[in-house]
């Protein structure tokens, strides 16, 4: 059984997403997708002493919620793949330490949700697990203090800056079941076009999304119209525009069925988020809270979810390094 369709793309035979859940913060609860999320936090602390604890709790509760929705318990899950933006992925490790599920920590920055689904689907399809979970989170306050400035510091954000989503998403995958099938996966390569500006993530990541999308269409020999919707998460306003133009130059037109999660979760102008949203929790919550339920209702029948991540750290930025970026794609179809 050879499922390798090209250097980067594989076929998944029979794995479905059987449940998903999303938890978001206050600001996301004021955005256009507010009604999609399972839980909107009353405040960004959620009764925890530190924001790191809040973020961990969001991951834990998202996993539990996605399981209870379909009457499963943590006992039923064979593997869990999770990661976040914090140093040493403490959001994931501390959040999931009491769940008693075999755990693989992963890091793909904002691409983590799609990376997790990719790995979970492959491990199940390979026969190494029956049920696996993919989880991720981000929190505005934990990300600010690690990557940027203290919350009360009087700094101005540049127009290309993106706002880190406070949110978590969890998806449960199982062999042979689920209304939404994972059909193909394209693994991304690390792309670095020499962008140094840590405040223009979308612009830095757009070439990675371009590279993965191009390979995906080529190795499957399909056109973008194959999908009802193609989403990236999260290039923001600038990155999304750049991606469409980059593909257009190669004669690939995604302008009519393409959206970016970073442009969906907030009212960009009113909520004053400059170029849009970012963070693992952005595509994490939009996919698990909004898009997957829409697929379940068959309002979207085929979806290509592209997770994009900027693989930088505060240290690399201070040392003047450019931003390496990545994009992974999973192709999802509703079951006939």
């Amino acid at each position: 059984m050879n499922n390798k369709l090209g250097k980067q793309t594989v076929k998944i035979n029979d794995v479905g997403i059987i449940s998903s859940a999303a938890i978001v913060g206050e600001k996301e609860g004021e955005g256009p997708l507010a009604d999609s999320f399972d839980i909107v936090l009353p405040d960004n602390e959620w009764n925890e002493k530190t924001w790191e604890k809040t973020e961990s709790k969001m991951q834990r509760e998202a996993v539990k919620l996605s399981l209870t929705k379909i009457g499963l318990t943590t006992e039923d899950v064979d593997r869990i793949f999770s990661g976040d933006l914090l140093n040493q992925c403490i959001g994931a490790a501390f959040g999931l330490r009491d769940l008693d599920i075999p755990y693989y920590g992963i890091y793909g920055a904002c691409s983590t949700m799609v990376e997790g689904i990719s790995l979970a689907a492959q491990i199940i399809d390979g026969g190494f697990a029956d049920i696996a979970a993919a989880v991720t989170s981000s929190h505005f306050c934990t990300a600010e203090r690690q990557y940027r400035n203290p919350l009360e510091y009087g700094g101005q954000r540049t127009p290309s800056a993106q706002w880190t989503v406070t949110g978590a998403g969890s998806a449960i995958l199982k062999k042979g079941e689920g209304d939404v099938k994972v059909t193909h996966i394209t693994a991304g390569k690390i792309v670095d076009m020499g962008v140094k500006d840590a405040n223009n993530m979308g612009g830095a990541m757009a070439p990675a999304a371009y590279s993965t999308l191009k390979v995906h269409f080529k190795e499957l020999n399909i056109s973008p119209s194959e999908y009802d919707l193609i989403v990236t998460g999260d290039l923001g306003k600038i990155g999304a525009e750049v991606l469409v133009e980059l593909l257009q130059k190669d004669g690939i037109d995604i302008s009519s069925n393409y959206k970016d999660c970073g442009c969906m979760i907030y009212n960009i102008e009113e909520q004053d988020v400059h170029a849009g949203a970012s963070g693992c929790g952005c595509i994490g919550s939009v996919l698990c809270g909004h898009l997957l339920p829409l697929m379940k209702k068959k309002e979207i029948k085929s979806l290509l979810a592209v997770g994009t991540g900027a693989l930088l750290s505060p240290t690399s930025t201070l040392q003047g390094e450019t931003v390496p970026t990545i994009a992974h794609a999973v192709s999802l179809k509703t079951r006939e």
């Binding site: 530190t50 009087g154 076009m193 962008v195 130059k249």
Partner: protein
């Protein structure tokens, strides 16, 4: 990809919106100016009303402005003004206080010694390092000029 790295950076630069520089400048001018006027009012209060000598009054103004900057940071107001004022709240000494208090508050959760106290100068520290070092150089230069019989 059709672009070389350099071409891509140029293209991206042209796609990225510029800062609203005129608006930023006006806000910085107004807020920065007002903060200085407040400082002047305190100076007149200390110097003219209380009769404190010029130099001490100036120090007292600095101390007062530092307190105001620190307090407004504490009650979560300084950052909100700074969002619009930019350099108008950065450059006055109130901004120096903000740069000290904001990391101290932020990292309190990592402890009172290694969090609050240790992180107090992560942003403002360089100002002291370069300011004091430069002043020492100035002092040495004056000393040498003095040795050579030069007048100051």
């Amino acid at each position: 990809m059709q672009y070389s790295k350099k071409e891509y950076l140029d293209y991206l630069n042209q796609k990225s919106p510029n800062s609203t520089i005129v608006k930023d400048m006006i806000c910085a001018f107004l807020v920065g100016g007002i903060i200085c006027v407040i400082g002047q009012a305190f100076y007149d209060l200390y110097n003219k009303a209380f009769g404190i000598d010029e130099e001490t009054a100036r120090t007292a103004v600095s101390v007062t402005m530092v307190f105001l900057g620190a307090f407004l940071t504490g009650i979560n107001v300084y950052g909100k003004i700074a969002k619009y004022a930019g350099a108008g709240t950065l450059v006055p000494i109130t901004g120096f206080a903000n740069a000290i208090v904001s990391p101290a508050m932020e990292f309190k959760k990592e402890g009172l010694v290694l969090g609050l106290a240790a992180k107090m100068f992560v942003i403002a520290g360089p100002v002291l390092v370069y300011g004091i070092t430069a002043s020492a150089f100035v002092g040495v230069i004056y000393y040498i000029i003095g040795l050579m019989g030069g007048s100051i």
